[in-house]
Symmetry: C2
Subunit: 153 residues, 2 copies
């Protein structure tokens, strides 16, 4: 992902979901396979001087959301991506700035997703996101999303 | 809950977890059994003009957290309450201001929780939280929390 593309996704998040600005959420990197989003501890701190669970969940939720947005974009598609359900495990307190990563599922699943979306205007995808700290998984998230074609698309 | 107690919990949230201020989270009501926290749509909106999933999860997470805080307080105890894991289903888009509720579990579970905490300085509790809209459940959340006595308590 070049700088311009990162800025585009970040601007989209900040424009469409204003609370992401207050949280200081940034697009860190995208290499065509893995997307990472970051957020500073300072804006997302709790009473134990660690990252607030709500912010941890929001960051992982958006990392997966962003990757589906990019998958659609790369396939020349656009649509609204909606979260259906998710679960998260908070395994260790996070003492610094956070970086959440989300990787594309196997290519056959990506292909099935975009083909279903083309045919039916609706397709589901399950993704996981992880926040590491000191070589350990500090938070582990799974979310299910649905991409929906809008009437005007 | 009288106004003073509601203000105390709200001030605690706003002081300890600053992002709750940007989200406009308020303590709405506590009757000794059920706690409800609210958040305005405006501060938590997404690109579809509905409530952002991350904010929905944060509000339900904090409603359960707040109720455990009150359970400990009512038992004359204090401790840090930490979330371990949670899951959430986003069942309907939320088009207005949000109100999440969380009810105490059966009395025997509350008693076991406070007794374990007294004995061991550590106890777990599972709670659910719900956001209604137009008489339907729009979001359904379950979280597991652990209360931990701090060395200086």
């Amino acid at each position: 992902m070049n700088r311009e593309e990162a800025a585009t996704l970040e601007n989209l998040l900040h424009r469409d979901i204003p609370i992401t600005r207050a949280m200081g959420i940034k697009v860190k990197q995208y290499d065509g396979h893995e997307l990472s989003l970051g957020a500073p501890l300072s804006a997302n701190i709790n009473h134990k001087m660690t990252a607030f669970g709500g912010s941890i969940n929001t960051l992982t939720t958006l990392t997966c959301w962003g990757l589906i947005h990019l998958i659609l974009k790369e396939a020349g598609l656009q649509g609204h991506v909606v979260i259906q359900d998710s679960s998260i495990r908070y395994l260790h307190p996070i003492h610094g700035d956070m970086e959440a990563t989300c990787q594309k599922p196997p290519q056959n699943l990506v292909k099935r997703f975009t083909e279903l979306y083309r045919q039916r205007g609706k397709a589901r995808m399950e993704l996981s996101s992880t926040i590491y700290q000191d070589d350990e998984i500090a938070a582990s998230y799974i979310g299910r999303y649905v991409a929906l074609r809008q009437p005007d698309e």
